[in-house]
Symmetry: C2
Subunit: 219 residues, 2 copies
Amino acid sequence: MSIRENFENNLEEVNRKITEMGEQTIVALERAFKALKTQDVEIALKVIEGDTAIDNLEKDINEFAIWLVAKEAPISRDLREIISVLKISTEIERVADFAVNIAKATIKIGNTKSLLEITHLEKMKELSIEMLRKALQSFLDENILLAIEVGDLEDEVDEYSSETYKKLTTYLSDHPEETNQLVQLLFVNRFLERTADHITNIAESTAYLIKGQIYDFNS
Amino acid sequence: MSIRENFENNLEEVNRKITEMGEQTIVALERAFKALKTQDVEIALKVIEGDTAIDNLEKDINEFAIWLVAKEAPISRDLREIISVLKISTEIERVADFAVNIAKATIKIGNTKSLLEITHLEKMKELSIEMLRKALQSFLDENILLAIEVGDLEDEVDEYSSETYKKLTTYLSDHPEETNQLVQLLFVNRFLERTADHITNIAESTAYLIKGQIYDFNS
């Protein structure tokens, strides 16, 4: 096998790990939200336990990437690709942390009788998962158009988040007896907004890889 | 100059940048808190503007570290040191982001007449800054005892955070007319708790560098 083939095989290996990390994170987000919606503490605990596997994948990816840099001393585009891998794995790990945070909020809400309707939060969760799928596909296929779409979807999440903040705080003023639940839902709203931010960072890293220049899809 | 001397000079250069990033972040935290306490939107805006310089320092450090790995192909302890630098700069950047988040909360609170007494939050800010100083000193001097002290201080921050959460939500139930301010203070409470978590990660990276094994000071 040539040195080049070997390097590309190593990159494919690390990309497989990135995909695996992304898939586990999507499962974590879906589960965390299911736990929240059905007020199921058991599922919430599973999300928290499952996070170790995602953290370990990130560590594997980081060590593998650094090892690859030390071994191959890559330059220009190859080096950019490895830097992107390091950045993207960090961002996915942070998204997974937000799934854990949602699970923890679910546990804090506990068995409150009347859970507020959470349609907007659910929509934000769905948009975030769509964004994550697109961001990862964009990275794997080096497709800049998909990366741009991620930035557009983030604007939608931001709008939902502002609306939800207003709705929840207004409701809170009228229903102080439900403070605990509402404060936790306000946190969840923030976690989802931040989730979308970090997924947008993945798209920006991908755009940097493809075009070699820095993008800011957040503004 | 020998290759070894050259490598050590490069490490010193990157450590100077880490110190600079830490100092700017401490200034950001102090300013953000001053803005919150005095409800000064101008100072809050300065914190937000100043964050670009900290982000740029992180980028410099990352690029320098990756360049050093590619150039020197370091192994064992040298490689561990560079990985620590990458991790620590990421954590400092996240701490600086929390200063920005506190500044944004300050802007959202605006000119609410009666700002709630925020003694506990101030104490958490002070502890966080003490932790950050110790964590950076621990890294620069390779002093494991300082790293352990950081973990102990984090427990204090966590206790203050739980108390503050209870205090603020109880007050919120009784004063729904102050929902906006109180929700923002709840967020600030969370930001400070997370700040302490990330500083503890710096201490853990330092412990990993010194001892070559992974520590968890959070548990």
